[in-house]
């Protein structure tokens, strides 16, 4: 019996002492934090996508309060989060335009063949660094899904060997843009639906050899498009997303079939 009591006292005593220590530690070692940081962190979407330029939502929350970061940087949060942030901080800011990512390449496996048999890490950056990438077109989507893996919300699907962004799932964080070694991904206004699905800066004959749906630099679309909403950049037609463009003629007349409506 004494043993039981002894044991109970020892263990109980040790427990009490430790508990007391923890309580004291919680009181004296507590890190004082602006409660609003926690509040903002709760409002932010929690995707930790890094699109705002800070290392995750908590870092952005802190930056908003302590470093005066603009409150409209959270693209995934949109107007709703901006409204809450405005209430908390008392600042005002315009809602950034709703943008979505798009992969400007339409040369899937049926259009653009491989020029060699790549054997290595299944990652676009690794493939790009090995013989310059195995795609026939040296500007096109390599199809090793680095952007898809980087997407925090799974909005990028690999279709027929090239990446496609599901525009309704995209939270416009820009993670994919940072991973693409060929800089094919652009952030474009959600409202815009006509795109030149090619990024090749090569001359027409080279493009034609590499891909069946590439921009050959014929300039027809630039003439058809209203107020220079499609411009030539070298041998590549590029949509100017600052200008209106809603003209099916550019799609129909494109000999490369690389202008599409999505």
């Amino acid at each position: 019996m004494t043993m039981v009591i002894q044991t109970a006292l020892t263990i109980g005593g040790a427990g009490l002492a430790c508990g007391g220590l923890l309580a004291l530690a919680a009181k004296f070692l507590a890190v004082k934090e602006d409660p609003r940081i926690e509040e903002i962190n709760g409002i932010l979407p929690g995707a930790n996508c890094g699109g705002c330029g800070y290392a995750g939502c908590a870092a952005y929350a802190e930056a908003v309060l302590l470093k005066g970061a603009p409150i409209n940087l959270c693209a995934p949060g949109g107007a709703e989060v901006l409204g809450h942030l405005a209430d908390i901080t008392g600042e005002t800011a315009k809602v950034a335009e709703h943008k979505v990512a798009i992969v400007l390449c339409g040369g899937d496996v049926s259009y653009a063949p491989r020029k060699f048999d790549y054997n290595g890490v299944a990652d676009c950056r690794a493939a790009q660094a090995t013989g310059g990438g195995d795609k026939s077109c040296s500007y096109g989507c390599l199809g090793y899904a680095s952007c898809s893996h980087a997407c925090p919300v799974g909005a990028i699907e690999m279709v027929n060997g090239i990446a496609k962004v599901h525009r309704d799932l995209c939270i416009s964080c820009g993670s994919c843009i940072r991973t693409c070694p060929r800089h094919l991904i652009k952030m474009v206004p959600y409202a815009r639906t006509i795109h030149v699905m090619c990024s090749s800066k090569d001359k027409g004959p080279v493009v034609k050899k590499a891909c069946k749906v590439g921009c050959i630099g014929c300039t027809i679309c630039t003439k058809l498009a209203e107020n220079e909403s499609i411009k030539m950049e070298g041998f590549l037609a590029v949509v100017d997303y600052d200008k209106e463009l809603d003209n099916d003629a550019v799609i129909e007349k494109c000999p490369g079939k690389c202008i599409v409506r999505i």
């Binding site: 299944a122 690794a126 013989g131 040296s138």
Partner: protein, 447 residues
């Protein structure tokens, strides 16, 4: 006086099948001019040269067609006389695109004016020697292509006491340096004396793997009487004895500090081919317009060591060696351990093309992405004492910070780890990507 055996041996190392017998007995054969030469502006480490000619210009052999664009850069010269047909971007052997000048030879092979031989190079002082090397556009011809004039003009506060000539040629298959040592031993020694003068180096070593006794004997025999402290050092045959830091350790026992340069320990290492080019530039006044490349591998009909103009296409070189017999599955610019696989044979040779290796389908090793089984072989063979097993796992998870903390930047990409890996993991590719990303992050942080 005989040669000495290396007293030291760097950590790690592997023993790949050497296959040197394919081309070792073939004397260097000069190749006729190709119908077209494509000369890249990015044949060296550092900034690409700036083209100084345009389409339609006629050029003479040895004429500068690309100017060094900065200190760490090198001039590029026309490999023969002819007409400039095209100035355009092409893919380099390593992958990235760079400007290249296509020259159609006129067949005359006329040298540019102003090539003045200077048989008694002793009259030239250090500055003149360095200038001549820079003017000749010489770069390291072993593989990395570091501009030689930069190497031979170390900062004033560093004291170089030793010059090592790298004749290890530890890459399997390659025999170009071996043939040079057999056929041009006297000239190489003269080149060494020239470089030693430029550096004020008192001691010269020629490091050769002990599986090349003939080269050791040839260099030993040609050892000039006028030189005081010079010796041929036989290295244990083990890959990568030709790697700079490992070779310095093997020969002298000095360890180049991590992240440092050989000059930090008072040493400069020059490849024997580079040394010969220096001799040619200083004594004959001729810029670098040609080099010896080993064309070899199972499918090559008559493997050999080819003296070809820079810019000769791989296909032409293979044709010169009797064409191919049987299927070719892999085309490699350089050796099998560190060379670059090519999509096809259209690419041109550069100052750094030490070999052109064709592999048949049975000799090609396929990488898989199997999980690491922690056998530790990569750790045992790493000549830098890294742990490629962990590093590759950090890099697979894109944890670049940890990889950097665990010294990924010290990786020399020699390939020993991937050579040994029983899980066939693409370890070197992980390292390359990791190093590139760490560099990118560092630059981002700096800006």
């Amino acid at each position: 006086m005989g040669f000495i055996k290396a007293k030291f041996n760097a950590p790690g190392g592997v023993h790949p099948a050497y296959h040197k017998d394919l081309a070792a007995e073939q004397p260097i054969a000069e190749m006729p001019l190709s119908a077209s030469l494509v000369v890249s502006m990015s044949q060296h480490l550092g900034k690409p040269a700036a083209p100084t000619v345009k389409k339609g210009d006629s050029v003479l052999r040895g004429q500068v067609i690309g100017e060094a664009a900065g200190f760490i850069s090198a001039a590029v010269h026309a490999p023969t006389s002819g007409t400039v047909k095209l100035v355009a971007d092409v893919a380099t052997a390593a992958g990235p695109r760079a400007t290249a000048i296509t020259i159609e030879p006129d067949g005359e092979d006329t040298w540019v004016e102003g090539i003045t031989p200077c048989p008694d190079w002793h009259q030239q002082d250090k500055k003149e020697i360095v200038e001549k090397i820079a003017a000749a556009g010489i770069t390291g011809m072993g593989g990395a292509g570091f501009p030689t004039h930069v190497k031979v003009s170390p900062p004033p506060d560093s004291e170089i006491d030793t010059l090592i000539l790298n004749g290890a040629e530890c890459e399997p298959y390659l025999t170009a340096d071996y043939r040079l040592m057999l056929e041009k031993a006297t000239e190489i020694w003269q080149g060494a004396l020239i470089i030693a003068k430029a550096l004020d180096a008192k001691t010269i070593y020629v490091a050769i793997e002990d599986n090349k006794p003939q080269a050791i004997a040839a260099m030993q025999e040609a050892l000039p009487a006028e030189v005081g402290d010079a010796q041929v050092v036989a290295l244990k045959t083990e890959y990568p004895q030709g790697a700079e830091k490992q070779q310095i350790f093997a020969v002298t026992g000095r360890e180049v500090p991590a992240g440092g340069l050989p000059l930090n320990v008072g040493i400069v290492v020059e490849n024997v081919g580079t040394t010969l080019a220096v001799w040619d530039a200083v004594v004959n006044g001729r810029p670098l317009t040609e080099r010896v490349t080993t064309v070899t591998g199972g499918p090559v009909a008559k493997p050999g060591n080819v003296l070809a103009r820079i810019g000769t296409s791989c296909a032409d070189m293979v044709e010169f060696c009797g064409g191919t017999e049987g299927p070719v599955a892999k085309i490699i610019s350089g050796g099998p351990m560190m060379g670059f696989a090519q999509a096809d044979m259209s690419g041109p040779t550069t100052k750094t093309t030490s070999g052109l290796l064709l592999l048949d389908p049975t000799s090609v090793h396929a990488y898989e992405s199997m999980p690491c089984i922690s056998c530790g072989r990569c750790v045992g063979v790493c000549p830098m004492n890294l742990m490629p097993n962990e590093l590759s796992q950090f890099l697979e998870a894109e944890d670049y910070e940890t990889a950097e903390a665990y010294n990924v930047m010290d990786c020399i990409e020699c390939g020993c780890c991937a050579f040994e890996c029983p899980a066939h993991r693409p370890l070197v590719q992980h390292m390359r990507r990791g190093k590139a990303q760490v560099m990118l992050n560092r630059r981002k942080q700096a800006s």
